[in-house]
Every structure is written in C-alpha cells, then in structure tokens.
C-alpha cells in the first residue's frame, strides 16, 4: 500500500509537471503575445501586435528570455518567494507563488484562496446529489427491471439529459430566482461564516447540478445493478434466506458500486476544476468563471493556475479512487 502510494504520487507529480509545461508552451508559442494584455491595459489601448511598446513589455515580462528559463522561474516560485517585475514596479510574491494576474496585479495564489472554496462547495453538494439520487434511483429501477416504472425512469433520464445543461441552469435561475422567489438568495457565503446561509444560498445550484448529473448516474448504476443482481452470489444470498433488502444492498449494490466509483472519481475532479456554465449563470466567483475570464484576456498566470488545479484534482481523484477500490474489492491489492 505504501509503495503503491509513493509510486502513484511520484507519477502524479510528473503528470502535473507535464500539464503545466504544455499550458506554458501553448501561451508562449501561441499566436498572440502574452504580454499584449498588460501592454494594452497600461497604455489605454495604444498598443498593437506590431507596436514597439509591445516589444518593450515582452522584454520586461521576460518573454525574450529562453522559455525554459522563465518556466524554471515559475516552478521555483512554487517553493521559494520571488519578486516579479510587472512594468516598473517590483511585486513580492511569497511561495507558493503562482504569479500575478495581469488584469489587476493581485497575487494569483490569493485569488485562488478566494475562488476555490466556492467551487469546492458547489462540487461537494452536486456530487453528493449525483450519488444519492443517481444510485438510489438506478438501484430501484434495476430491481423493477422491465416494469412500467423502470421504463418511465430510463426514458425520462434520457430525455432530461438530452436537454443542454446551460438551458436547464438558465431556466431554473430565471424561473426560480428572478421571476419567482422560491430560491431568492442564490449567492456564496463562506461555510464558516454562516453555515445556514451557505447551504440556503447554494441549494438551488446544487439541485440543478445534482439532478442533471444524476441522470447519467442513474443509468450507470441501473446497468451495474442489473448485472450484479443476476450474479450467482446474489442467488446464493437469496437461497440463504436473507431478506430482500440485505440481498439487494449488501450483496448486489456493494459490487455494483465499483464501476460507479470509477466514473465518480473523474467527475468529481472535473467539478473541482470549476463548473463554467454554473458559475457563469448563477454568478458565483469560482474557479471555472475565473479561468474562463482569464482565457479571454490571455491572463497567463491565472490560466496556468486553473489548469494546475485541474491537473492536481484529476491526479488526486485517481489515487483516491484506487484506494477506495481496494476497500470495496478485496481482490484488488495495492502493490
């Protein structure tokens, strides 16, 4: 188990490094100079792709140095404090330094501290509903396989998930928050400030994300349940005289959860890296909206930070899924 963890964490680090290199390179060699944004901002628009001012900015931001040198500085900043020159003023950037946003010259790491809890709150709430609704409904449908209730459920999840998500989110925001006051105060309040407000402010968002995402979990877990209900060991459990509930929950559902956990791990990682539509529509300042806005204006340090969050989330989720696996299925030995 320990050796497995060390190995996975090392290879996870490699993955994260590679992702950050690729993002860095994409901006460096991309069609637009990463210095353009800052140049346009500080000269009130008197800066174009060919103007000598841009060359000036490129020089000052270090884009004339070799790429590995600048990338090296960025990596070093993750562990050691550094000073960054934006324009003529030096900025202190304490480790872990993710650079300064070109837009407002604030520390990216500080911004991340503000945005990440929003996204985590959304992800945890939505993912809990994925599992709660999805697995419950899926398991119930599998038990009633072939009945009218099952067919209705399966087809309604299909219909529901064929509606574009942004439409569902937009309509719910319009109908339930703006037009009526069923969910009047959709907003983020930090959990530690006021837990009740935190929950009530995000409830609608959780419901929209959760119910929409749960449709695919309903189908996964229904499929997995149908399969495990027909296993020999479920028949054995029944032949032992166990109650229907024990047979379904302890014997069939336990094994049906394995494939669901795999998908869930990845989904949760993507939720953690930001839910662009949701944050945009409900106007929540999370990672997704932050990253999207930064991409529009070529704010390299911010984009670099958001992609780092995604890479870390995916890597960690995969390791966690593997660990959960070994608890669910004793045949999986971590070594």
């Amino acid at each position: 188990m320990f050796a497995f963890l060390v190995k996975r964490i090392l290879s996870g680090f490699l993955t994260i490094m590679l992702v950050s290199m690729i993002v860095y390179a994409l901006f460096w060699y991309g069609p637009k100079s990463p210095a353009l944004q800052l140049c346009v901002q500080e000269t009130n628009g008197r800066c174009g792709p060919t103007s000598p001012r841009l060359a000036d900015y490129e020089e000052r931001l270090g884009y004339n140095n070799p790429v590995y040198e600048e990338y090296g500085k960025w990596v070093k900043g993750l562990v050691i404090d550094r000073t960054i020159m934006l324009g003529k003023t030096p900025y202190e950037c304490p480790a872990p330094c993710l650079g300064l946003s070109f837009r407002d010259k604030t520390l990216v790491s500080e911004q991340l501290k503000d945005k990440f809890p929003v996204t985590v709150s959304l992800a945890v709430g939505a993912a809990s509903l994925y599992l709660l609704i999805g697995v419950t409904v899926g398991a119930l449908a599998a038990r009633r396989r072939g009945t009218l209730a099952d067919k209705l459920l399966v087809s309604s999840t299909l219909v529901f998930s064929s509606i574009p998500y942004y439409l569902v989110a937009l309509l719910s925001f319009l109908l339930l928050t703006l037009n009526t006051s069923i969910f009047p105060d959709v907003a983020y309040t930090p959990l530690l400030d006021n837990p009740a407000k935190w929950a009530s402010g995000l409830l609608l968002v959780w419901l929209v994300m959760g119910i929409f995402g749960a449709t695919s979990y309903t189908r996964y877990s229904r499929g997995a349940m149908v399969e495990s209900l027909s296993e020999d060991y479920v028949r054995t459990a029944k032949a032992k005289g166990l109650s229907a509930r024990t047979v379904v929950v302890k014997h069939a559902l336990r094994s049906a959860l394995v494939p669901v956990v795999t998908i869930f791990g990845l989904d949760f990682a993507f939720l953690l890296s930001g839910t662009v539509f949701t944050e945009q529509i409900f106007d929540l300042e999370g990672i997704g909206k932050w990253g999207l806005d930064a991409t529009y204006i070529q704010d390299l340090p911010v984009v670099q930070a958001t992609s780092l969050v995604l890479a870390v989330a995916v890597v960690v989720a995969n390791i966690v899924v593997d660990i959960i696996y070994s608890f669910l299925d004793p045949r999986v030995r971590l070594s």
Binding site: G146, Y233, R235, K240, G241, S243, A244, S255, L328, P330
Partner: protein, 359 residues
C-alpha cells in the same frame, strides 16, 4: 432446526407433484418444466440427470421459491415436510431457505460473494436463522463447519476471501455454508462440475458422509451419470422439461428403458471399460422450450423411433408408465419391448463385456 418445516412420519420429506414452470418472454412462453413429480425421503438421495435446459435446475430452484414472482408462472405442488411451497409468502419462504432446505451451487467462485470473507458469509447464513446467537457464537459455528467439511486450519481460513481458496476448498466452504443450519433437505446443483476428478470424488464422499451424519434428504442435480451411480438411491432422468425415466438407481442404470437414457449411458466415458466399447454421442441438439417438438420431445433425436408403429412418436406424447420392472420404475416411451432392444442393440455397443454375463 427451527422454522415451519418439520418432518412428518412416513411421508417423503420433499414431494413434488405436477410441477410446471413457465417463463413468459418476448418470444413467447418458455415451458421450462412440465408436470414433474418426484419425492425424496429423509436419508435418501435423488439424482436428477439431464442435459442443459432439461429443467433440472429450474425445478429445484422452485423448491426454494427462488424464481422471480414476476417472471415465472409456477403451478402444481411442492411439499416440504408437508408444507406447500408453491404460493407460500416470501417471509415464510425465507424461513425455509438456508434453514430446513439448503442449496449448494456449482462454480463456488461465482456463487460466493467475492467481496466478503468466507467466515462472514457463513456467519451471515447462521445469524439469519439464529437471530438470538451472538457474533462470537456464529463465528465459532462457522469455524466448526469449515473444520467439519475438511478445510485445514479453519480458524485461519475463516478470515480469508473466496479468491484465496482453491476450487475444491471453495466448494467445501459452500457446502459448509449450506449445512450450517442443519438442513433436512439439501439440494446440490451440480456441486462437482467445476472441479477436477479427484476433488470431485472427495466432495461426493463428503456429501455422503454428511448426509449419513445428519440423515438429510438430498437432491443431487447433475449431468454426470458416474456421479449418480456413486451416490444416488433414486434417479430421475429429465428431457425437455419432463421426466422421461424415474426409478431406483440400480434399475435405471442397469435396465434403462428409454432411448434417451441409453444415449446418456452411451456417452459416458469409462476408462475401465472394454476396449471394444464405443462412446456414442446423442445426435442433434436439445429441444427448444419455446416450441417443443410434437409428441415425444426426444423423437427428432431418437434412433429407435422406427421401431414404433406409425407416427406415434411424433404425434402422441407417451405417458410416464411402469415398464417391465415393476411399479417403481417408470418411463416415457412408446417402445413395446425396450429391454430387448437395449440388450440386443445398445449393450453390445457400449459394454460388450457385460453381454456374455448371465443376468
């Protein structure tokens, strides 16, 4: 033993009468078992023989009410110690399952839950019928049963998972789980199919020992006549969902009166047999249960149907009637003198060394 089922003096412990099991499917009605009757007394073993799809497993699963009520139509009567099982409520069936009537399945790797320790699965089987017992008692009982079925170091192996057991050990654990509540009736569905021959013999010996010890009734489902010859008191041969021959083991195996049974006997390899003996497979395929052949279900594959006058075989279903061996040996065949045909045509082919012996 607790629960509803108590043996009634002088009555067979399990009595199945006119059992019919149908499954409505999208393609039509599958008639898996038709008008099946048999009985087993305590201390006796009934071997049910037949090929895949002959209805042997389906009929015995009905004894425990294991078929889905929504997808199976069951008529007829199954009496366990005098209690009617067909139509019994789910909670009463649960009292019966694993308690008075236990079932052990083939392929123990698939039939044991891969995620739970052997001990836990045995404890679960014990506790469900002994709710007042403590976990410690149940565990002690599990270790005792593992020891009884010949698993070495049972106190250590009780904490292992099924995949850490060998095939034979898994089947032993399966048997231990079946017997943990001292059942009066044990249904063994091909218990030795997935095992190699030596282990097979050990498991059969074990089953026989345990049967003697507990005086239980055993229904042994198999497609292997060798297994039947070794352990069964009575034999029921099934074909296409019906009983085609039923009698004592000795009679059915030495004086079979139905061409399908002949075919089964001819297709059993025997290394001790005369080198002139031939192994003759039964031609053709098992009948469709959706659209079974008219008349005798075996007639399309029967080598002897031309010895029956007219087209009786393809038009009329033969009754299950006593042959020349007395009331207890019944067969479903139109042949007028099957014993003569068996002696003249079948026996010389499959066991030439037996022909000269005086009978």
């Amino acid at each position: 033993m607790s629960g509803a089922a108590r043996p009634v003096e002088g009555e067979p412990y399990l009595a199945v009468e006119d059992l019919t099991v149908r499954f409505p499917t999208a393609d039509g009605l599958v008639q898996a078992v038709t008008d099946l009757s048999y009985s087993v007394e305590l201390g006796k073993t009934l071997g049910i023989v037949g090929e895949s799809g002959s209805g042997k497993s389906v009929s015995s699963m009905a004894v425990l009410g294991l078929h889905d009520r929504r997808s199976a139509q069951i008529t007829g009567s199954i009496k366990v110690a005098g209690t009617e099982v067909v139509g019994l409520s789910e909670s009463k069936l649960r009292d019966l399952r694993g308690n008075a009537v236990a079932m052990i399945f083939q392929d123990a790797l698939a039939a044991l839950h891969p995620f739970y320790k052997i001990g836990k699965q045995l404890v679960e089987a014990y506790l469900v019928h002994h709710p007042q017992a403590t976990k410690r008692e149940a565990r002690a009982r599990a270790v005792e049963m593992l020891d009884r079925v010949g698993i070495p170091q049972p106190d250590r192996r009780v904490d292992q998972y099924p995949h850490q057991f060998s095939g034979g050990m898994r089947q032993r654990a399966m048997i231990a789980m079946g017997l943990i509540n001292d059942p009066s009736l044990l249904i063994a569905d091909e218990p030795t199919t997935a095992l190699d021959v030596t282990v097979q013999a050990q498991i059969l010996d074990l089953l026989q020992d345990l049967q003697r010890e507990f005086n239980s009734a055993v229904v042994l489902i198999t497609h292997d006549l060798g297994v039947v010859a070794e352990v069964a008191d009575d034999v029921l041969v099934m074909y296409g969902g019906r009983a085609v021959e039923y009698g004592t083991c000795k009679q059915v195996l030495t004086r079979p009166e139905m061409p399908y049974t002949w075919g089964l006997l001819s297709s059993v390899p025997d290394i001790g047999a005369d080198t002139g003996a031939r192994m003759i497979p039964i031609p053709g395929n098992p009948p469709s249960l959706l659209a079974p052949p008219t008349g005798c279900a075996f007639h399309p594959r029967c080598a002897h149907k031309d010895k029956v006058p007219g087209d009786l075989c393809s038009t009329t279903l033969p009754e299950l009637l006593p042959g020349s061996e007395g009331e207890r040996h019944v067969k479903r065949c139109h042949l007028a003198d099957p014993d003569a045909i068996f002696a003249a045509e079948v026996l010389p082919e499959i066991a030439p060394d037996l022909v000269e012996e005086p009978r």
